[in-house]
Symmetry: C2
Subunit: 204 residues, 2 copies
Amino acid sequence: MPQGVPTSVPDDGLTTRQRRNAPLLVVHTGEMKGKSTAAFGLALRAWNQGFPIGVFQFVKSAKWKVGEEAAFRALDQVHTDTGQGAPVEWHKMGEGWSWTRKQGTEEDHAGAAREGWAEIARRLRSEAHGFYVLDEFTYPLHWGWVDVDEVVSALRERPGHQHVVITGRNAPAALVEAADLVVEMTKVKHPMDAGRKGQRGIEW
Amino acid sequence: MPQGVPTSVPDDGLTTRQRRNAPLLVVHTGEMKGKSTAAFGLALRAWNQGFPIGVFQFVKSAKWKVGEEAAFRALDQVHTDTGQGAPVEWHKMGEGWSWTRKQGTEEDHAGAAREGWAEIARRLRSEAHGFYVLDEFTYPLHWGWVDVDEVVSALRERPGHQHVVITGRNAPAALVEAADLVVEMTKVKHPMDAGRKGQRGIEW
């Protein structure tokens, strides 16, 4: 539990309140499970605070995240019906990004990843959301499909109050450098070591 | 993303399907943020699969988890209204456990923790839930308030199909030994290092 005591106070000319409320860039990386699930757990807090949520999944097949998607679509409906929480938009690369409505035949994953990032950059500039989950976005960065320096500068220059959480293994050094909070999920023990495969309610 | 290829297949007389569907004991430990948030992210999947959820928070003050609680109460209501997902029960130690309705004056935290565990043990025996989050339960174990061996044997002997996720620092060795999946959240970088305190939508 946070004890509310910073280990140092920087000489940056900001008040504690300004510093406290600065929007965060968060990276969940490492080899182990929990990177995306922790990002979606954070999104629950954002939802409750009324921050409009945008989820962008950089995955070929998003079948492993259907549980979270269904729950957040239900929470979006709660917001529509009652005003509680915040709106949630959920987009995935796998079937062609939702805003383009291209279907199925997308074979150019690098192109799709670049197209996804271009849309996110537009949304950051126009302050479209308050809380972004860029799920598994480290992969297109790591593979060189999307330019890391361009991403870092768009993130550094984003206006207003927009939190961004990026998940995935192999987070590039420049992204870690730019981030405010970086968590590495480390394996201690995994059921696959005992010959088990994934199962519903846990993996998806 | 799971590749579905176990690194070894044990000689335990079980079929792959039996092994696959064995209920899991999961531990999220380590010094860093993300332990509870990842547990609640997993609970979203369980909700979507229709596993009745029981959350038990072993914390004096649960103010840091209000976002998740509000979102899961909304999801419980969605289940009541539409049948989608699963019911969610949420109990916390801080104000006296919900089922006892004691208010405010609880000063005996060790006693409250033991009482919480006794109720969870009863629920495990009667298969009350399909997915349990024992949030920050490692602390009463670490401090010796609740007996680790008793907990481990109740978990090992739990009937039916009940997943259990336990979060907190300093997970006792016997608990790690009994767990199927253990993730350690490791700090790479934290905003408090840069003189920032916690903020809404991130810490609560």
